[in-house]
Symmetry: C2
């Protein structure tokens, strides 16, 4: 009888009103994610995988970009909670612990991805090992003694700190000296990287023969600076980027890229949700892939 009604309803195009259903069941079926921006291959790939996996679990995925702005992040999460989101995923968040507090108050679990927090589980890349490998690769690529610049990234964020640690460690392992002026975590945005490089022209830039660029966004700025200066091609410069973009990979194969394993990061995240083992702060590291 119930099935008969269901069948007829379907035939005649009736469907449940999810607002009413959610209200009564106290389950919205919504899973929310915030992320810094969409307009970047790493984050857009995260979004795409998030949607796919959420839908496979029967959830309704909702994403919002918050431009690395702590106030916007809070605002966005608050709005998702108004819609009774059942989980909140914080991607590359500037302050995951604050978001945890907000959600914990109403009993909604948070999970971090890309940048870790101290209060809930975090799935991130193994930035240290990735940076260690990339730095070794660049040292190998250079003729003679390597002098490498590290550019881009937020000096306060965990990922950048870990990558700098890997960068340093590779230098130590190869017996290369390092001085502080080599490391310029000027922020992620392209204009900042551009300015930082321009400031080095005639001021030490010429002494470098390798660059460790902390993201494709920063790569954009660096390339603009070089292009403006006219010396777009310095074929003797070994260039590496801790990030991946398929167009860069095919157009500039000489740039070594580190591809974060987005698929594995997200399947790990959803495994935690599925198994209900997302409680308790800890960090799960996924090795990135040193690309061609």
């Amino acid at each position: 009888m119930a099935n008969k009604v269901r069948r007829l309803a379907k035939e005649r195009g009736y469907a449940v009103n999810m607002q009413a259903s959610a209200l009564r069941k106290e389950r919205s079926g919504i899973i929310g994610m915030i992320l810094p921006i969409y307009d970047n291959r790493f984050f857009s790939s995260i979004t795409q995988n998030f949607e796919r996996l959420a839908r496979e679990m029967g959830y309704f995925p909702i994403t919002t970009c918050t431009h690395r702005d702590p106030a916007l992040e809070l605002q966005a999460v608050r709005t998702m909670l108004l819609y009774q989101a059942e989980y909140i995923i914080c991607t590359g968040s500037t302050d995951p612990d604050q978001l945890y507090d907000l959600c914990a108050k109403v009993g909604v679990p948070t999970l971090n991805i890309d940048l870790p927090g101290n209060k809930s589980v975090s799935v991130i890349s193994d930035n240290y090992s990735g940076a260690l490998q990339l730095t070794h690769k660049l040292i190998d690529d250079v003729q003679g003694t390597c002098r490498m610049l590290f550019i881009g990234g937020q000096p306060t964020d965990h990922n950048t700190k870990e990558r700098i640690r890997g960068f340093r460690q590779a230098h130590i392992e190869r017996g290369l000296p390092i001085d502080e002026s080599q490391i310029i975590p000027c922020g992620y945005e392209a204009p900042k990287a551009k300015e930082a490089i321009k400031a080095l022209f005639g001021n030490g830039f010429e002494s470098y023969n390798a660059m460790f660029i902390n993201s494709t966004i920063s790569l954009e700025g660096v390339t603009q600076a070089l292009s403006d200066a006219g010396n777009l091609h310095s074929p003797d410069m070994a260039v590496g980027c801790f990030d991946w973009d398929p167009l860069v990979a095919v157009l500039k194969p000489e740039i070594t890229m580190v591809k974060q394993d987005v698929e594995k990061m997200l399947s790990e995240l959803f495994a935690l949700i599925r198994s209900g083992t997302h409680q308790g702060a800890r960090i799960i590291q996924i090795p990135p892939i040193l690309g061609h």
Copy 2:
């Protein structure tokens, strides 16, 4: 008194339950958008602008990617309707009219962007003029007589047809002959463009000195094919791309790109919503920008 209660509620962290509010008000505040993929600068930029403008209007934006699959598009729109979305924006949809029908049944307006439909208002690029300009530019760039390949895109979709029309018209205006083998709308995906180019090797490819590539996704495939063949650099080949990517712009400035004016497209779309003049099928064309 009412304000006193509101203030106290805010202070003590109470907030409305949007499910209940939506149920009673019969207004969810949700505006939904579907799009083919996130993982592309054009679409991710659309998403980002959509979110910004929706939020400015006080709506809660929801986006979902549907991989150019008509069944998935229907499914996604149906789900958004369950959540009582008030508007549905169809981006680059394979069958916008079918989606219109679905939404019209429950009184929800649809608006198209990127690819037009016949049943509701569509905001798209002026593909014909853009292609005309790009083709002229490439003919100018070539030494001697131009023989140009058109590659990528869906032969059935409006944008590709219009771009081919512009491509043809430019040839006519310059007195250049054209034959059908020059035009290969093999689909958007990179592997398809790659295969199409590979099939031309030793089979006519060598006679071309210009390429009109229909998207950055196809550009990826074309570049892979050239790279696999070892002749990555043919500096005498004039290359244009009807699409824009900032990394390509800085890394390969010799590639002429057409940047669709995403900001204007979306502000136009939201102007239609705001003014309530979104009824009635018509096409609004926004000129793209011929970049460096």
